[in-house]
């Protein structure tokens, strides 16, 4: 387990380099926005966090289907890795958004459609992790959480498209059509940095899950025999 170089560490290094460069350009080189001034620089961390949070949860959705379809441990490990990463990023996304909202809207929170669907996304997927923690049987844990993720995923496209479908305080999606070219460069660099960082998180968490499962399987016969003795 130790002493062997794993490819994901190169991905982590690349992520840290990209995030450092992207943040530097975003904070020191890119121009301030005409109306929001410097506070708009939160966008260079907020938007990549949002994109990669939704991407991680999309990976969780695909892995959940793979887990239900094949029943293989690897798919379930990918479910855990991507769900946990998605929940962490969504939590950070909500925190950044609240700080930005306080500076621009004058309030920490508003029950706006984008904010509300994002909060629902956080609660739903955090709920999946809580569900997993409450189930002892590895097979049941995998199948129940896969079904829960497929149901919870219905909210993810809503988060992305709601600003176009309904009236919202929140701005529309950040694309080259809505963001100036000088601001797109740090946004893209940070998005790739966040993508590689999330990949590292997902792979590390999935490896941990597989190792935990191995330990569970080796200790299960011992636990069963102890339980049998207690019941006898």
């Amino acid at each position: 387990m130790r002493g062997k170089f794993q490819w994901e560490h190169a991905v982590l290094l690349l992520a840290l380099v990209l995030l450092t460069v992207g943040t530097y350009i975003g904070l020191a080189v890119a121009p301030p926005e005409r109306h929001m001034g410097d506070v708009q620089r939160i966008m260079y961390v907020h938007v990549p966090t949002a994109w990669i949070a939704m991407l991680s949860l999309t990976v969780a959705f695909v892995a959940a289907i793979g887990s239900l379809w094949s029943g293989k441990h690897k798919w379930d490990a990918a479910v855990v890795g991507s769900t946990e990463t998605g929940v962490v990023l969504t939590g950070l996304l909500l925190s950044q958004g609240m700080i930005w909202a306080r500076a621009t809207w004058g309030v920490w929170w508003d029950w706006d459609v984008r904010l509300t669907t994002s909060l629902v996304m956080f609660i739903l997927f955090a709920g999946v992790l809580a569900l997993r923690a409450s189930v002892d049987s590895a097979e049941r844990r995998a199948s129940w959480s896969a079904v829960a993720i497929i149901v919870a995923y219905a909210d993810v496209p809503l988060v992305y498209f709601c600003v176009r479908w309904w009236r919202s305080l929140h701005q529309v999606q950040s694309t080259p059509e809505t963001v100036d070219a000088a601001m797109m460069l740090p946004l893209r660099i940070n998005a790739f940095g966040m993508l590689f960082l999330a990949t590292w998180f997902i792979v590390r968490r999935a490896r941990l899950e597989l190792a935990q499962r191995q330990v569970e399987e080796t200790t299960l016969p011992e636990r069963r025999s102890v339980e049998e003795v207690q019941h006898a």
Partner: protein, 43 residues
């Protein structure tokens, strides 16, 4: 500077980047700690 522009936005920018950095470090540390605990269990 034109009217309506938010001045002194740097405090919010620093807060947002700090929250993100600290959050990511805490999650990475929790993964590392869980790994260590498992390795101890295995040995």
């Amino acid at each position: 500077m034109p009217d309506g522009v938010i001045v002194d936005g740097w405090a919010s920018v620093i807060a947002a980047y700090s929250v993100t950095t600290v959050g990511l470090i805490i999650y990475a540390a929790s993964l590392w700690q869980r790994r260590r605990r498992l390795e101890r269990k295995q040995s």
